[in-house]
């Protein structure tokens, strides 16, 4: 939201984040095996929530880190997948957090707006548009993915890339439902950045 301050300067208003539905542990309450995740400061609400079950944290985080971070698929493509999947799942936390990551990865503000828009969207690159159709069919619908959508994806990506991209969609959907259901809050830092970029 944008409002007018008393001195007429246009400033961004950041709405209060939702209250999480579960405790988010801080470093002082982090269980023994979770402590390394807090060593560098606030690890974010996903880790802070998962830390309540350390035996799940210690297997979930390496998995998520491997799937979400640098891999054989380039970072831009991965952020397209994550932001678009999150938009189809309407996960406020994930859209916010990964809009910032997408910008940092090199996507433009306009591209992020496109990825978060409702309804069918496309990007100029035909490979990326084929991917968007695939994401919408996987994350925005239930049941079988139409053959035509799969055929177009196969024309743009290699088999192993299709496997990884589809796993990335699935992992993102898992996080989407986790974050949305538990009402995990967007950080003030991310909210401020989105406001500055006109994406709030």
């Amino acid at each position: 939201m944008v409002g007018m301050a008393a001195d007429t300067e246009v400033v961004a208003e950041v709405s209060a984040p939702p209250m999480p539905r579960v405790p988010l542990l801080d470093a002082a309450h982090a269980p023994l095996t979770a402590r390394p995740y807090f060593a560098g400061g606030d690890p974010g609400p996903i880790v802070a929530a998962l830390a309540s079950i350390p035996e799940l944290l210690e297997v979930t985080l390496p998995f998520l880190s491997t799937v979400l971070n640098a891999s054989a698929v380039d970072a831009r493509t991965k952020e397209i997948v994550i932001v678009r999947t999150s938009a189809r799942q309407d996960c406020r936390y994930c859209i916010d957090a990964h809009s910032v990551v997408a910008l940092d990865t090199g996507l433009t503000v306009e591209e992020v707006r496109t990825l978060t828009a409702p309804g069918p969207v496309s990007l100029p690159d035909p490979d990326e548009s084929a991917l968007l159709d695939w994401i919408d069919a996987v994350a925005g619908a239930i049941g079988a993915v139409p053959d035509g959508v799969a055929d177009r994806l196969a024309g743009s990506y290699r088999d192993f890339e299709i496997v990884e991209l589809t796993l990335l969609i699935g992992a993102t959907m898992m996080l989407n439902r986790f974050c949305t259901s538990l009402s995990l809050p967007t950080s003030a830092e991310v909210a401020a950045r989105l406001a500055r970029e006109g994406l709030a």
């Binding site: 405790p23 309450h29 982090a30 269980p31 023994l32 830390a51």
Partner: protein
Amino acid sequence: MTAIAEAVSSGELPGRVWMYSNYHCNLACSYCLTESGPGVTRRELTGERMIEVARDAAELGFTALGVTGGEPFLLQDMAHTLTELGSILPTIGLTNGTLFTGRRLAAAEEMAGTDVTLQISLDSADPDINDAARGPENFAKVIAAIPALVERGVTVRIATTGQDPDAVAAARLCALHRDLGVPDEDHVVRPIINRGRAAEAEMGVDVTESDLPAELTVTADGAFWSPFGPTVVAGQLDTDLLLTRTTVPLRVPAQTLLGLLQGRPAGADSTLNIR
């Protein structure tokens, strides 16, 4: 031999597994780690679950059990549960000793001659000092319960919790427990730990996991590094010494505990005489 058994055998891993049978209590001691009292959340382990944990513990190679609370004897059939546990591994049951009258005292006889020891809290030979921390008439009830249990063949030891022990007061307490039929080797003294209600009252010594024996401790909320781990402050369970939420099979938290121990630098073992 399992890795756990080897670690227990070598002394790397303490042999006792503790279980919090419950968190509610008929007392509300000033230094209680768990903020136990009459109205608190029970966080109860069933007798069946405790026996399941005990069997797991024996199979893994642990050598002893402990049951604490809360006041375990607020639970029905605790004497029978402890007897069952004692048939699996030698067992210590911690109790405030105030409930051993009538049916509970009669039921306690089942533990006579078994591998069960009751550890009863008694902080001072001075009733006023003892009762200031543990509640009205605590001293009188404990003094009556100990010989009654001993007479019935139940093995009893006494635990004293306190700050800055005074030599004269300690001598009086030892004379008292000898009179009650409890020998010196069955009297343990331990410091107040600055957790739970003691932390809110700014009592006791500060500890980290390296100060506490790594005794695997099972509760209804998960498994912890030590029986001093699953403490409660302002009604909230402390999680800093949480190992896993999974408690059965016991190998899950046991392996986590062993992994942490094996990752600790040499010499980083217990520095406080805490039992």
